[in-house]
Subunit: 420 residues, 2 copies
């Protein structure tokens, strides 16, 4: 008998008809002999409605009360799924965040899960009940309701899977898996049957929005095998599998391993250039320290070579990217630090995109980066910045070239599916 | 410094604009130096929406899961009112049923409140916070969510008022108080400034639907002074009071005491007549025992004098009323018991109404009933059944005469307000 976690998103839970579809899927797993915990999101649109109420009540709402309000959405769908399962003859009960409990820290509205008590859960599963658990919520030490931040239900599912030592955590969503790239840009993108945690983290954090990044990090840490699959479509691969399995590198054998797993793009970055920063010790620290203090993540950094002009001390231009949402705050922080840094001019540009080539295989293969630069160069695409990690090469380009870049790279790395 | 409870119904909580109006009323009480707990209903329509989901999921829903679903409505408004109060500079926090906790029995979907822990509540109130408490919900011994049944928020408010030893429990609703009768029938009905618990119980249970009956019973038992008033209208009486105060008899002095306090009507009764029941010992027991076993409340009973006809043993007709909603089940129960009872025919009629004259004053005054019979008789209104209690005389009449009966009785007992 295996234990599994099934997680259903808001689109899958939108209305009783869809909840019946979910219950039918759960029933199938139970009849296959599994012990099942189901983690559910609120009905699509419900969390937005509740967040809207909070904002209308006060733009500076107390996050502790916000959590009381918005956690209601998942509470509702938990009870409804339990009722629906029972109506289909499947014993089931809901367990709210405070009932299990799912302990979190006290960072209300963006809490992190600590431990999950499994005594009651184990007893319930062993008694043959399906446990229905609202995603996104927990309880802080002072007994107040917490939520995990938007998209937190994926993280709840992985945390529950880790706590109950589940064999697998199936994330049902409105896509049928993880693709080599965005199929809206490249129709010949291929669904991946397996991907490593590390690759998924890079793909998720740079734009392939299938799973919440934090949930992938937790799955990697806790070694939870995650599968992403569609709750609306039962199509299987040639090899009989559904969806995409996200696992440790050791679970992917050499035959399956690709040099490059996927191409991601992200238009949510903004480029900032400080023109003519004096070339003296500490000047770079003077730029990035205040940004870090403000909690702004700086991603790609390019520092030009210092140049001295007639009559002036040596100076340099410093370019870097920040999340586009943090741009106004970044400019404000830098402007206030102008005295310390001593730049001449502050230039920014949001019409940029980050294109990333991701693959565990590149660790053992040189030439991945140069293929990228040559491929883009051959199409006249200018590279504004570069950053690399062990399994990723990212470049910043002008936003208008995003789709072209993704397509030519997808072909260059041999990722295109055979024509049907 | 006084402690008070303020309770707001669904119409008062329907949307952020109205919640601001509620918060402004709460703020006024805080600024007057009171310690305040607020008990709130769900937004108007929300509980119906949630109940609808449960019914759609299964007509035989598990009441434990139903409670998880429907309790969300009050959870949402609690958080929103706390946010709104804070935005107005009034320290406030929400306390969910399981957080205080409000202990109830395990009769899910119709639970009864046991004790309410006040340690945390006392600390919060003493620290100057407004406590916002969702009505209608509690927690059972096994740590599962319970609800009190529709309209249960009034009962929550009274229970909280008793637990925190509040000086007063103000129930804000969409009417400005309790009237001598339904103002839609008698435009010259007068608002009562005071009414006793006993009178309110009779008025509420026979049709003046201002307060949930159970909340009035609890207020009487716990000696909680309850006031019913409008959350939309600040009009005051000539003597400067707002709303209607519901108190013990000792709080109403002789000057204020009326012979008759009000006239109520109730169209939700059904009349059943068993024709030709054999007049032998035990036959009446054979009628009412199976109804009691089925949980059906029999109200008015009339037994005709036994009559023997040529060639037949003595027999009698037995007439009684049950709640109209229980009529089909009652007929079914009686039909199955026909062998034991031995009646000839089963006749029923839902086109009847119960008219009640209520007043503590009638204890010390004879003639109330005869005034009622004469007044109705003078208008040709036939009395089908009569029942009396210490402070009430009720008659059953044909439904078509309801409004006429209420009007003529209102005048006969001197309850009409002076023309404006």
């Amino acid at each position: 008998m295996a234990r599994i976690v099934m997680k259903f998103g808001g689109t899958s839970m939108a209305g009783i008809e869809r909840i019946r579809n979910v219950a039918a899927r759960v029933k199938r797993e139970v009849e296959a002999g599994n012990q099942v915990a189901v983690v559910v999101s609120a009905m699509a649109g419900e969390t937005d409605r509740l967040v809207g109420f909070c904002r209308e009540a006060s733009s500076l709402y107390d996050p502790r009360e916000y959590d009381v309000v918005v956690s209601a959405g998942e509470q509702i769908t938990s009870g409804l799924l339990a009722i629906t399962l029972q109506a289909m003859g499947v014993p089931a009960r809901s367990w709210l965040g405070w009932q299990l409990p799912i302990h979190t820290d006290s960072a209300f509205a963006k809490a992190r899960i600590g431990t999950i008590d499994t005594d009651a859960l184990d007893r319930s599963l062993d008694a043959g009940e399906v446990a229905v658990i609202p995603g996104f919520q927990g309880v802080a030490e002072d007994n107040r309701v917490t939520t995990l931040g938007r998209g937190g239900s994926d993280t709840s599912a992985v945390a529950v899977a880790a706590a109950m030592k589940a064999e697998r955590c199936d994330i049902y969503t409105d896509v049928d898996g993880v693709y080599t790239t965005d199929p809206r840009i490249v129709p010949r993108a291929r669904k991946l049957s397996k991907v490593t945690y590390e690759e998924m983290l890079e793909l998720a954090s740079v734009g392939a929005k299938v799973l919440q990044t934090r949930s992938v990090g937790l799955a990697m840490k806790e070694q939870v095998r995650v599968r992403v699959l569609s709750s609306f479509d039962d199509a299987r691969d040639e090899d009989g599998h559904r969806g995409t399995l996200i696992v440790g590198e050791e679970e992917i054998d050499d035959m399956e391993r690709q040099l490059i797993t996927g191409i991601a793009h992200d238009k949510n970055e903004a480029k900032i250039t400080l023109v003519a920063v004096p070339d003296r010790p500490g000047s770079v620290g003077a730029i990035f320290a205040p940004l870090a203090d403000a909690g702004i993540n700086v991603d790609m950094i390019v520092q030009n070579i210092a140049h001295a002009t007639a009559g002036n001390a040596a100076s340099t231009d410093v370019t870097f990217t920040v999340p586009a949402a943090d741009l106004p705050r970044s400019l404000d922080v830098l402007d206030k630090a102008r005295g310390d840094i001593g730049f001449e001019k502050l230039v920014h540009d949001t019409r940029v995109a980050k294109i990333s080539v991701v693959g565990v295989g590149m660790r053992s293969h040189a030439g991945v980066a140069s293929t990228m630069f040559q491929t883009l160069g051959a199409r006249g695409i200018n590279i504004l910045a570069i950053t690399t990690s062990e399994i990723k090469v990212s470049v910043l380009i002008e936003e208008d070239y995003t789709e072209l870049a993704v397509r030519v790279l997808h072909t260059a790395y041999g990722l295109d599916a055979e024509a049907a």
